[in-house]
Structures are given as structure tokens and as C-alpha cells.
């Protein structure tokens, strides 16, 4: 029997490669760097740099248009933040926001280079249901139910020069 919860979790989860040019990604990284990150370090939840609500209306409009097309929904921005992870950083699933509404989450990979193993995982009841690998300039579009959590995997210290930069947008129906 299909449960109601299953119906609501069988939703869009796609990756759009090359959603942004590498030059534009570098420009965004530089602007975020200038604005400045805040370190988050409650170690049982996460370890990363964060920049909340950067003002990038043109970028947001372009990404929201892609997400609206992919989901068939009319969407607007609810929340924006940039996450920067360096070797030793992570963001655990139980630190993820739990959303009551059915939001769409976009993650634009602005990293300067691929970082092996630095993925974003969407989980349901602990199991990975959708994996977003490190891929600079790619955009993931995930329609989330409240039972889905998200974690950013540990960035190995073996990758001494690794730098992961992700613009994360949370969208809601307009």
C-alpha cells in the first residue's frame, strides 16, 4: 500500500550541470568573501563558515526560474545563505532545519574545484535518498518534505587545499 507520506516525498530531485559559468561563480565567491563569513562551530551539529542573506537578486531570479521550470511550481525566495567548508568541516543531518511546508531547496556549487567526497546528502529515516556530488557550477533542485533531512558531508583533511562554497536557497510557493 502506498502511504500518503510516500506520495508527498516522491518529488523533484535533479542536478542541473553548468547552471552558472565559472567566471560568474568566481565573482560570487569574491563578493561573498568581501562581505565576510561567520564561523559556526557547535561541534555536535556542524563546523563551517556561513553568510546569511547575501544580496544577489539577479542570481536568485535566474535560479528561481530554473527551479520553477523543473518543479512546475511558482516559487519565491524564503531564505538564502552561503556555506563555506574547509578541511575538517561538516554539517550534520540533525542540525538541518526541519520544514513544515513543502519547500524547494537549491544548492549552487560555487567551489573553485571538485572536492572528492564532499557531497550533499538528502536523507529519509537516515537513508540517503539523493546524493549531490561535488561539481562546481552545478545546481541541485530538491523538493523537500518535512521527513527529509540534509547533511553536508565531512571534508577530509587529506584534501589540504579543499574549499567548498555552496549557495543554498530555500524556496516556497508564491
Amino acid at each position: 500500500m502506498t502511504r500518503l507520506e510516500d506520495l508527498f516525498t516522491a518529488r523533484t530531485a535533479v542536478i542541473v550541470p553548468d547552471a552558472i559559468g565559472s567566471g560568474a561563480a568566481a565573482d560570487l565567491r569574491e563578493r561573498f568573501e568581501r562581505t565576510g563569513y561567520t564561523r559556526y562551530a557547535l561541534v555536535d551539529r556542524g563546523s563551517y563558515d556561513e553568510l546569511r542573506d547575501p544580496s544577489e537578486p539577479e542570481t536568485y531570479a535566474a535560479l528561481i526560474a530554473l527551479a520553477s521550470e523543473a518543479t512546475g511550481r511558482t516559487l519565491e525566495l524564503a531564505e538564502a545563505r552561503v556555506l563555506r567548508l574547509v578541511p575538517g568541516d561538516y554539517l550534520l543531518a540533525h542540525h538541518d532545519h526541519v520544514h513544515d511546508e513543502l519547500h524547494v531547496e537549491l544548492i549552487l556549487d560555487l567551489s573553485p574545484a571538485i572536492v572528492s567526497g564532499a557531497d550533499v546528502h538528502y536523507r529519509r529515516h537516515g537513508d540517503v535518498t539523493f546524493q549531490v556530488p561535488s561539481r562546481p557550477c552545478a545546481l541541485s533542485i530538491v523538493a523537500r518534505a518535512s521527513s527529509v533531512t540534509c547533511n553536508h558531508t565531512y571534508v577530509s583533511r587529506l584534501h589540504t587545499d579543499a574549499c567548498v562554497v555552496r549557495l543554498a536557497l530555500l524556496l516556497r510557493d508564491r
Partner: protein, 173 residues
């Protein structure tokens, strides 16, 4: 923390017991390592676990004031890139009272793989700040024990080279 806890001539016996135990890779958002199953599959490892409990539980009960009797035990192998991120070990209903880790000699001593303990500042029942309090090297034949609570945050730092082999688990009432 107790060093040289097992007589040197007994350590080959430990390896002989562990050699018979299947090992699998485990991975989640907070860990990546190889380990034996939560419940030993061989009678020899079950016997080792039970002897470990009967030898140490009375002394630990006296020292800590926390009465413990039984123990669980798994063997862990951390290779380069393996880690266990900060967590408390506390879970409602599991009655984990005292955590332990015993480090075995390694054919390639590990680089990294320290046990890091964190100090937590709590306000209104929630952790609001965490700081590194102590870094313990996984030295061969060392036993580390610590009390489990909802603020006993600790981690196994990423192993950057070599192999970190340990027995670990919790003492229960």
C-alpha cells in the same frame, strides 16, 4: 586513561580472536570506519567481552560511583580518511553509563585518530558553546574510559595515515 593495561604476551591472543570476526564498512553523516557487528559473531569475542566486563566493571563502579556490570564490545579499524565526528554517545533507553576505548598495537601506527573530548557550555538545557578540552593519542595498549551524558561530546579525529585499531563500547548497569 591507563597505559600498558594488557600484559604484552596476551596481545597476540587478542589479535587471534579478532582475526575470526567479520568486519564491514560503516558510514553515516557522522562516521566512516570499518568495524565488527554490534554483537560478536564468535564465541571467543563474546568471551573476551564478558571477561573484560567482569574484570573492569567492579573497579569502574567503585571509582566512578556508577554501578556497571555488563559491557558491549566491537572492534574498529580506522584507515586514512576515516573519522567519527563529535557526538555524546547518550541515547535515551540505551543505558550507556561509561564509554571505553582500548587501542591495539598497529602494524602501521596511525597518524591522527586522536580521541578529542569537548567542554560544553549549557544554557537553558541546550549546548550553546563547545571547546576542545583534551586530545588523547591512540597509543598502543592504552585504555580510555569516560562517563556518558548528554554533554559528553567527543570525536575520533580523522586518521590521516596508518591504521588505528581499537576495541570500544560502553559499560551498562
Amino acid at each position: 586513561m591507563i597505559d600498558d593495561v594488557v600484559p604484552a604476551e596476551m596481545i597476540p591472543e587478542l589479535f587471534a580472536i579478532l582475526d575470526e570476526e567479520p568486519v564491514n564498512r560503516y558510514e553515516s553523516d557522522i562516521f566512516a570506519f570499518e568495524a565488527t557487528a554490534p554483537e560478536p559473531t564468535t564465541a571467543e569475542l563474546r568471551a573476551l567481552r564478558d571477561n573484560f566486563a567482569s574484570t573492569l566493571a567492579p573497579a569502574l563502579s567503585r571509582i566512578t560511583g556508577t554501578p556497571v556490570t555488563r559491557v558491549d564490545m566491537r572492534a574498529y579499524a580506522y584507515r586514512p580518511g576515516h573519522y567519527l565526528l563529535p557526538h555524546s554517545d547518550h541515547q535515551d533507553g540505551l543505558q550507556r553509563m561509561i564509554a571505553y576505548a582500548y587501542y591495539l598495537p598497529s602494524p602501521e601506527p596511525p597518524v591522527g585518530g586522536e580521541l578529542e573530548l569537548f567542554r560544553c557550555r549549557v544554557e537553558g538545557g541546550a549546548i550553546v558553546a563547545t571547546d576542545s578540552a583534551r586530545l588523547i593519542e591512540p597509543r598502543a595498549n592504552r585504555l580510555v574510559v569516560f562517563g556518558v551524558s548528554d554533554i559528553s561530546l567527543h570525536q575520533v579525529c580523522e586518521v590521516l595515515g596508518g591504521l588505528r585499531i581499537s576495541l570500544a563500547g560502553w559499560f551498562h548497569p
